[in-house]
Symmetry: D3
Subunit: 237 residues, 6 copies
Amino acid sequence: MLAGRYGRQVADGLMSVSTATLTSQLRKRGLDGCIFTNLRLLGKVERMVGFARTVRYLPLREDLFPARSAGLNAQKRAIESLQPGEVLVISARGIQDAGTIGDILAMRAAQLGAAGVVTDGAVRDLTAIDSLDLPTFAAAHHPAPLGHRHVPWDTDVAVACAGVLVEPGDLLVGDADGVVLLPEPLVAELVSASLDQEDEERYIADQVRSGASIDGLYPLNAEWRARYEAARERDPS
Amino acid sequence: MLAGRYGRQVADGLMSVSTATLTSQLRKRGLDGCIFTNLRLLGKVERMVGFARTVRYLPLREDLFPARSAGLNAQKRAIESLQPGEVLVISARGIQDAGTIGDILAMRAAQLGAAGVVTDGAVRDLTAIDSLDLPTFAAAHHPAPLGHRHVPWDTDVAVACAGVLVEPGDLLVGDADGVVLLPEPLVAELVSASLDQEDEERYIADQVRSGASIDGLYPLNAEWRARYEAARERDPS
Amino acid sequence: MLAGRYGRQVADGLMSVSTATLTSQLRKRGLDGCIFTNLRLLGKVERMVGFARTVRYLPLREDLFPARSAGLNAQKRAIESLQPGEVLVISARGIQDAGTIGDILAMRAAQLGAAGVVTDGAVRDLTAIDSLDLPTFAAAHHPAPLGHRHVPWDTDVAVACAGVLVEPGDLLVGDADGVVLLPEPLVAELVSASLDQEDEERYIADQVRSGASIDGLYPLNAEWRARYEAARERDPS
Amino acid sequence: MLAGRYGRQVADGLMSVSTATLTSQLRKRGLDGCIFTNLRLLGKVERMVGFARTVRYLPLREDLFPARSAGLNAQKRAIESLQPGEVLVISARGIQDAGTIGDILAMRAAQLGAAGVVTDGAVRDLTAIDSLDLPTFAAAHHPAPLGHRHVPWDTDVAVACAGVLVEPGDLLVGDADGVVLLPEPLVAELVSASLDQEDEERYIADQVRSGASIDGLYPLNAEWRARYEAARERDPS
Amino acid sequence: MLAGRYGRQVADGLMSVSTATLTSQLRKRGLDGCIFTNLRLLGKVERMVGFARTVRYLPLREDLFPARSAGLNAQKRAIESLQPGEVLVISARGIQDAGTIGDILAMRAAQLGAAGVVTDGAVRDLTAIDSLDLPTFAAAHHPAPLGHRHVPWDTDVAVACAGVLVEPGDLLVGDADGVVLLPEPLVAELVSASLDQEDEERYIADQVRSGASIDGLYPLNAEWRARYEAARERDPS
Amino acid sequence: MLAGRYGRQVADGLMSVSTATLTSQLRKRGLDGCIFTNLRLLGKVERMVGFARTVRYLPLREDLFPARSAGLNAQKRAIESLQPGEVLVISARGIQDAGTIGDILAMRAAQLGAAGVVTDGAVRDLTAIDSLDLPTFAAAHHPAPLGHRHVPWDTDVAVACAGVLVEPGDLLVGDADGVVLLPEPLVAELVSASLDQEDEERYIADQVRSGASIDGLYPLNAEWRARYEAARERDPS
């Protein structure tokens, strides 16, 4: 799927480059607004790449809750319509004292091939969520159902999540450090630059392990860059 | 306008009952989700009654900001289309370190007959805003334009503002204490009960001023209620 | 002990139903005030059921600290008088930059048969606490003794802890998701309803694992409910 | 009353020395725990001196609220039993999104001769409260009744308020800067030292107004102290 | 002083353009880091323009406090050496529960011709500070002396204040909305662009007052700009 | 190194006594300002003892960032000049939504024999940092580079970190509970008293494990102290 869209090299890069590297490349392009904050990774899979599907919670209104939460509500509709490779993004206004998704819905998302879940709220059923083959990024855990603080409101609209404006379809990448959003027009460029950066950093790390000073090495000055390029020419990694 | 919709008595009540009384009546009906939090009243008019028109800000995304903020952006569209008696509700995610509305737009809102402005963000041009004949409820003041933290995104959608889910058209009432939302089906009932409550409380306050103990008086026990009713029969206020 | 008080079925249920399920049942009855917030589970035992014994900290007053903290102070009295099956609830005003209980007192609590410890403050001796056979729910960890911010004040009074009003004797249940309080008159009803809910949810989870859509399944509509009941009739779980 | 207890000079001092001076004297004696935080003064009287009467709120428990809030509840009992010169201290856990005291109860407190009100919660009926001849120190204002977040629980117990442990009977002093608590055994000493400090500071301020450098003057070095003492001898203030 | 450095027109502009306008111009140049946050203006002068002199507080260390706070400590040295037109910037780590500057030191600063005071901490002696002819921007007020939380540490170093990196000598401008920093190389350009912007906005405000729609007017489209320029040609403001 | 400076016994004590014990001893001497707050231990080494080397971040100023962050910037200079046994202290103003140190620099620090890293900001490359033989204390993790919020400014100055004033050369001790600072003149005394305290507490813990009540035992009363001393005489631990 990623390969069909971006080509094999970029697709592979998306599966390998770290969010720490991607944030460096985002910042170089002035895109500070694409970096999520305050998320912890749960689940047995430590890598997430996928396209955003959004659901928006709004604050509890007791008069509106019953109709909005019954049956196949916004959250359940969003989950039920997930396509393989999509990331469910739950906008919960950063509220940490009520759950958002729990084990059954997370299981359903995984079964439908979801690439992950991201929420600035809390998850319920922490132990079960943490044992799934689904990377879930959440701000906290809490036993309460969403109705404790929220009404599930609508889906497939632009939302705020963990400080980032997410539009449906935005490409998200996550690892243990957190989550970043890659604007579509820049995906190939960001990944390519990140692959280059990580190759340099692997070389730098090797030199550091060998006792080199970081002065001139990190970032590479002209002399070190020449050595790096020579090394890569000898032995393309 | 209010009279045409709710009848004269309710319309008058909407202009007189305090938000403190209305919250008591909302709570009696389990409607805690209708009470805004952390707002300060600015402007020379100390009373606001009107129907919500909403605008939603989302977090700054540098790649999306230019197109979304140019020309007649969401905030300006919302203001330009305000009808007399409407309240502009600006959802700013509680962010206090960037402005939302400033003096020119507030002036335009006032000119179009807006009933007020409510935002969980900050206002700019504090001195000018505070001198308008327009009640403005804001969480803070800050010199920065909205682009410091926000993108003005869309209008006329349900939003979260100061902890309350606001749908376009919701009736809002504000005074020095803050703002409340009155769900449409309950407006007449809430106002009527509030008028009764305030009449009782005026009587109670008179007794307190005369030195009465609040024991049995506040709330009225049977004996005091009989006296109150007798007094009102003698002299309907 | 639990069986003697509530009967075998409820006692067993208390040891098995998740706090996520209990919060759903509490919310159905309008009891949002019984759900603790922002707690992390420490220790080798992942389940807590017991009755609250309370100790209350107040803010450090240098003039009152010496007399109140010496010898068998309030915290130590509370611990020393713990009965088997009791949960020590330490009210620390949500302060995270001073410890509350440390390893020796936790060990003593465990030795006396305490069912657990709950505090909205921090624990000291994190490694030792985390290795005990005693479930401890805390908001944080911190090396400082309680006198850094607190005076241990009194015991066996109603307290606020992690956002919940706890009276001595209240029944508390905890697991990895957090802690809930079950009001005594509702214990049997809450547990029974939770057992039913979890049985339904196990059935639902099985269907989800088999690829069923959650539409109509979660929550069960009439058709799915009929199948569920038929399945349970065939094979009572 | 104050004069009877502390003598005329100390009583007069209590009515005149600023809380800023008193905090300096408290700190000199290691009593940092006696300084309240985050309070704003309301009302037409800018000076408060009186003895604490306490009321404690606990978090809303829907099952306990009805019985505890009905009739002459803890808050009303505390107010109704206020003696002249007493300060009502309302412990509200720093919660700012629900009111504590409103206009009728504040009016009753004033009528009974209360010296003031201090709460780390919010007041209701801001405009009315601010027009009373009663100094009220609060963290915020909010229209909601206390039941939005609290249960009024008990009275005349030690409480935490705005970061300070307050026991019934503690002496409180307040002005525009905030509130401090003076431990009984130190009242005379603290006031006497504060009077001396303020006399020195008046002298220093006069010198500053005349263009003197603060080097050596503030605090007084030996030379300046000699001049100060000579001046005071010539003209005892 | 300003005129000597920047020329008459820029100097006048510095005394007239609002911080709200300056933030717009700063943002256009990508300088979001020059906008202070969460400050309230005190004092009888509503305009501040001056050059930063810095003092840095560090967290209280009881072992270091005596030597560092005695005599002419860092804060007092900074104040005593203030030159006319300088702004005292007190870096207090955003701590609001201890004072920074009080009335005597503020009076001395005013006497020495200081242009203002800016602190992300609290002021003491609120009433006195608010009555001085010295604009003071603070995050809060609090009666405690600085030693309650701070040690006055050093002066004339780069500091963080209210979210902004301030170097000694940086130009600061403040009004009711808050404070901004103008990087030296851009002062003339920022002021000039701000004067132009405010001239346009005055024209726009006039049109709004006359009933014009903001569509096309704010910001000026080609047609409105032509009218604006024609008007200014007829009647240079 | 430690042994050369403090003698063998103190050096060994520094490697063994817990931070929880050291905070008790610090508090006994009124040194509350030496206890760090809100830090989590990462890395495979669970014990840190070393001398502070400081680096200070200031808030992002877009105009100053390029020159200050390029090449061997303040952070890199600090790291490159680390001596064996030194602890890198990164002052990040408690900002959690940007990284400070990442894997390459941490690796270099480890290679140079650093004793650890302490920051009140976030680390990048969480997984790599957590796998190093270097104890790292951080408030959070975040993928963004420091430039997202900070400018690396200067080194080897006194800084605030996690609520503590740290001067270059201050001795820091860390374990799973957090970090404390030991003022140089008190190191021997604090360690010696901590060793004594831990010996007592080991004895107390043994008694608790044997079923003893803590009444009179913890802290030791005269009778228990006699037994303790007799036991130690028989069997010096």
